[in-house]
Symmetry: C2
């Protein structure tokens, strides 16, 4: 067997390993998306069964994180990758940390839901949370899509959405504080909504982080802590 | 120049680079510790000047994160490290993410402090927060110390402390909710304390994460998502 065949073989095996990691990240991402949806809907519709399911499934996410992390490190040690491959592995290690934290936020909403007393549940007052959920689901989905397609085309739109999420979150907070002041009997329920809104706002932040890691992976640029304008400029410059 | 001299030279240069990263992480850690202290005290003593300083210094932490991250990646690409060196670089990349998030929590407390109206400030009611601050400061300091000494001797004590922090946080939350219900005029101030307590509780979590990364670096074991008993067993097994 001459060297070129060995090299081809190694490179084919390597590509397979990288593809395997990519698929696992997308599996993990899909599961995390499902958890966010399930947990928030469990909270809004007082559905204890779904809340319980979210708490159980959180372990799958944790296991996937450890598994993917381990594979990335193994490849680094064994293959000594460079350029895009190294960036993809480093970006992946960071992305799965953010995905795991999104999973944690979903689990937090689910655990809180399990503690709600039936007396504190109101069926028809969750419009704001519903809207916030839709916005962050879109962000998370877009971020995962950018990773899947190794493409930064859509990331500017996603990070722009984060400002809307922050504004919505601030507005919800204000309304809830007013409700609490008007009638102290609203306090428990308003606090539950406050924690849920906060968790969703954090999920938006983590989705932005995923976008930043994808930009690093694709463009080789570290865009963390830039203003939205600087980020947009960097992504367009290196297109 | 024969090969062994070249190798010695390379290895000396490599050691210098690794040492440089270690020192930068400890500088970043020291700064983050200072920020947590400064921000929480600014909140408790209504000190706008300190709050402002925290917000400004947050940029230094962000810059250090990017700088250290870049250096770790460069070494991975250039030196293709293995075993402990590779683990140290990967652990470092994760540790600085947690340190940066601790910095974010401190900045969050500072920003909230800047928004407090003078009328909502009460001088003598922050004992619980003070106690929580002392606990998480100890955890953060211990975690950084474990990294500095490449030693897992103390990490069990730190992660055990996290349970106490969680209990303290839950107890503070309950007290604050009672205060809100008793007198709606307490709501704004109680919420500010709630956010601060929450930020401190999160800082405790991030300090635990740092400990877990140090265990991975030193022992080569991924101990995330284990119970405290499992973690203790793993650390002792591989001593």
């Amino acid at each position: 067997m001459d060297n070129s065949i060995i090299n081809q073989h190694i490179s084919r095996q390597f590509n397979k390993e990288m593809e395997d990691i990519r698929n696992k990240v997308l599996t993990m991402g899909g599961l995390v998306e499902q958890q966010v949806d399930l947990a928030t809907n469990a909270f809004m519709s007082y559905d204890m069964e779904s809340a319980e399911k979210v708490i159980q499934q959180d372990q799958l996410i944790n296991a996937l994180e450890k598994d993917i992390d381990h594979e990335c490190t193994e490849i680094m040690a064994k293959r000594q990758p460079a350029a895009f491959d190294l960036r993809m592995l480093i970006a992946t290690i960071k992305i799965i940390t953010d995905l795991e934290r999104i999973g944690d936020e979903a689990a937090r909403i689910a655990k809180m839901t399990m503690r709600i007393e039936a007396a504190d549940y109101y069926q028809d007052k969750y419009y704001e949370i519903e809207h916030l959920l839709e916005m962050v689901k879109e962000m998370l989905n877009g971020a995962l899509d950018a990773y899947a397609r190794t493409d930064t085309e859509e990331v500017i739109a996603i990070t722009a959405q984060d400002h809307k999420v922050d504004r919505e979150y601030t507005s919800i907070t204000r309304q809830l504080i007013t409700q609490m002041m008007e009638d102290p009997r609203n306090i428990t329920r308003a606090l539950d909504m406050l924690w849920t809104a906060r968790a969703l706002e954090r999920i938006g932040d983590h989705s932005c982080n995923v976008c930043e890691h994808v930009i690093y992976m694709v463009k080789g640029k570290d865009v963390r802590h830039l203003t939205h304008e600087e980020l947009e400029k960097t992504v367009n410059e290196t297109r």
